[in-house]
């Protein structure tokens, strides 16, 4: 299934604490490579917590682990990831004359890595 989904990179507590340990440390790498996904969307794709998914768009691609969120917390079609090197791989560089790339609401496709 390759329906387009909307990726929202953002801050999280764990990302904040782990970046103090160091961005090159395992903990930070793990947290910024964990994708939150609506549980119903996961079920449709035969995904369970911890599965690896390939996520891509016209800019680039990355491979991350996924973890389920309750549908009332994260709506269908939305994805959340603590921002970091994996989410940067999918970010377009155009800033529309503002200096700011569109760092949230990126349209991506995902598939299970078998």
């Amino acid at each position: 299934m390759v329906d387009k989904m909307m990726l929202i990179p953002g801050r999280s507590s764990k990302q904040g604490t782990s970046l103090n340990q160091g961005k090159l440390k395992d903990e930070y790498q793990k947290i910024t490579s964990t994708l939150e996904m609506n549980k119903d969307d996961m079920a449709k794709r035969d995904l369970v917590d911890g599965d690896k998914v390939r996520m891509w768009n016209e800019i680039g691609e990355t491979i991350v682990s996924c973890v389920g969120k309750k549908p009332e917390d994260l709506s269908a079609g939305l994805l959340f990831i603590p921002y970091g090197p994996p989410s940067s791989q999918l970010m377009a560089s155009d800033t529309a004359g503002t200096g700011m790339p569109l760092s949230k609401h990126m349209m991506v496709e995902i598939e299970k890595v078998k």
């Binding site: 953002g10 970091g84 090197p85 940067s88 560089s93 200096g99 609401h105």
Partner: protein, 466 residues
């Protein structure tokens, strides 16, 4: 305020510089033998990690191409690199003192380079909106003492600024809010149900990318205008709830609460600036706050991320006239976001050398910008190894501001705060390194302009040819 007790020092009223809250009520317990902070009383989860993890690491103070060198050798190489470049850029600055930020502006001026801060990928769009719309503003102290309607829009402070609720805006008891949370109505507007939802009396979850539409509709409702002749519809016959995910009833209720509060505040985050609409979103929110002052007192404040990103805006503005995205190539400052902002100077391939201070664009920038960063000489100053420091031609390891060094930072409400360091670091601070680079860069640029050692009138003529 430091008390010596054997090898433990207690520093009272210290400041946490991890996030823009810049809480200055820390009590730090410092093990002077181990050179580490063992306890940070009053700190949040992020602050505790900030203080615990900034210890003295066993690493070279300076490296060129990954090999250890003396600090003097690294300064010479950094200065030579910057002076030789045709389009050198300076970037970062949000996690260092305002004293260091000032030196970075001076260096960029001397080398006729381009200076930008992490604001451009944070609240840069809000900076544009401030210039276009204006800002009805206040300090966080006023919010604590007066605000009875607190609205968070497009942010998750529970995770990004954990003490924002407890210290400034939701639960603290103030002069005119003696019962704390009971005297306030808290509204959260976000596309996700985040951990911040726990404090909200009203949770509004719009569809993604519909903030501008909702804010504009609120402006109309505040002014008493009907959105459409048909109930529930919008200007062009679209059902507002279907379009935005928020009902007309909810919006009308919020507009009435805004008009009828005593002191209202709109805190806004990256959910507005990093999404489609960018500065139009921030501008719509600022305009709404301004409109509301016809009925009551209403302010709007961006919730700022890094510890001294607000200082970066202030220092760059009072040194150049503009807050970020400033270019000196013509010998005077020019401001042009989209051209002189760092994602653009890198992605467009303009920059041919980079001085990166306390920031990690190699980790967080768009892929195209990172690819260019890998192809130019980069000079970094950072307290820890990062993706950017790893790809650097010259890398300085520096002391941590607020923990090892004093100086000045600006809280997110533009209040300046003096830092109280906890223990000394063997590494120099950013200001010291930048001052040395500035001195050498100045010597080299003078040599470039006056290769023969001209003096007096000849120097003036060389600088200002007729």
């Amino acid at each position: 305020m430091a008390n010596e007790n054997e090898n433990i020092k207690i520093v009272k009223d210290a400041t946490c510089t991890f996030c823009g809250c810049v809480c200055d009520d820390m009590e730090l317990h410092v093990d002077l033998d181990e050179k580490r902070i063992t306890k940070a009383k009053n700190a949040c989860v992020l602050g505790r990690a900030w203080f615990a993890e900034h210890t003295i690491e066993d690493a070279p103070a300076a490296m060129i191409d990954g090999k250890e060198v003396t600090i003097e050798e690294a300064i010479e190489e950094a200065a030579q690199t910057l002076v030789k470049a045709k389009f050198p850029i300076t970037y970062g600055l949000s996690d260092t003192t305002s004293e260091a930020q000032r030196e970075a502006v001076a260096i960029t001026d001397y080398i006729k380079g381009n200076i930008d801060t992490t604001t451009s990928v944070c609240h840069g769009p809000s900076g544009l909106a401030f210039q276009g719309v204006g800002e009805s503003t206040s300090t966080l102290g006023e919010v604590k003492n007066r605000a009875d309607l607190v609205i968070y829009w497009g942010g998750n402070p529970a995770e990004s600024h954990p003490r924002h609720f407890g210290r400034y805006a939701v639960t603290p008891k103030g002069m005119f809010t003696p019962n704390g949370k009971k005297d306030r109505t808290v509204v959260l507007v976000d596309v996700r149900k985040t951990k911040s939802a726990g404090v909200a009396d009203i949770l509004i979850r719009p569809k993604p990318g519909k903030d501008f539409e909702i804010l504009w509709a609120l402006r109309a409702l505040v002014k008493g205008n009907k959105l459409s002749a048909n109930e529930g519809e919008w200007f062009w016959g679209v059902n507002i709830e279907e379009e935005t995910g928020v009902s007309l009833e909810t919006l009308t209720d919020l507009a009435e609460r805004m008009k009828n509060c005593r002191f209202g505040v709109l805190f806004f985050g990256m959910g507005l600036t990093m999404t489609r609409g960018r500065h139009f979103n921030s501008g719509a929110l600022l305009a709404l706050a301004t409109d509301l002052n016809k009925y009551t007192h209403f302010v709007a404040k961006p919730v700022r991320g890094h510890g001294n990103v607000t200082g970066a805006d202030n220092v760059v503005a009072w040194q150049t006239g503009y807050p970020f995205g400033v270019n000196f190539s013509r010998g005077y400052p020019r401001f042009n976001p989209g051209e002189f902002t760092t994602v653009d100077t890198l992605s467009n391939g303009d920059a041919d050398a980079a001085l990166i201070i306390a920031s990690d664009p190699g980790s967080n920038f768009p892929k195209k910008a990172i690819d260019h960063l890998k192809n130019i000489p980069v000079i970094t100053l950072d307290t820890k190894s990062t993706v950017t420091s790893k790809l650097s031609h010259v890398a300085f390891k520096t002391a941590t501001y607020g923990i090892n060094t004093g100086g000045t930072v600006y809280r997110m409400d533009d209040v300046s705060i003096t830092l109280r360091p906890a223990f000394e670091s063997p590494f120099p601070d950013d200001e010291t390194i930048l001052k040395k680079i500035k001195k050498r860069v100045h010597e080299l640029t003078l040599k470039k302009i006056h290769p023969g050692g001209a003096s007096g009138e000849a120097k003036v003529a060389a600088v200002n040819p007729l």
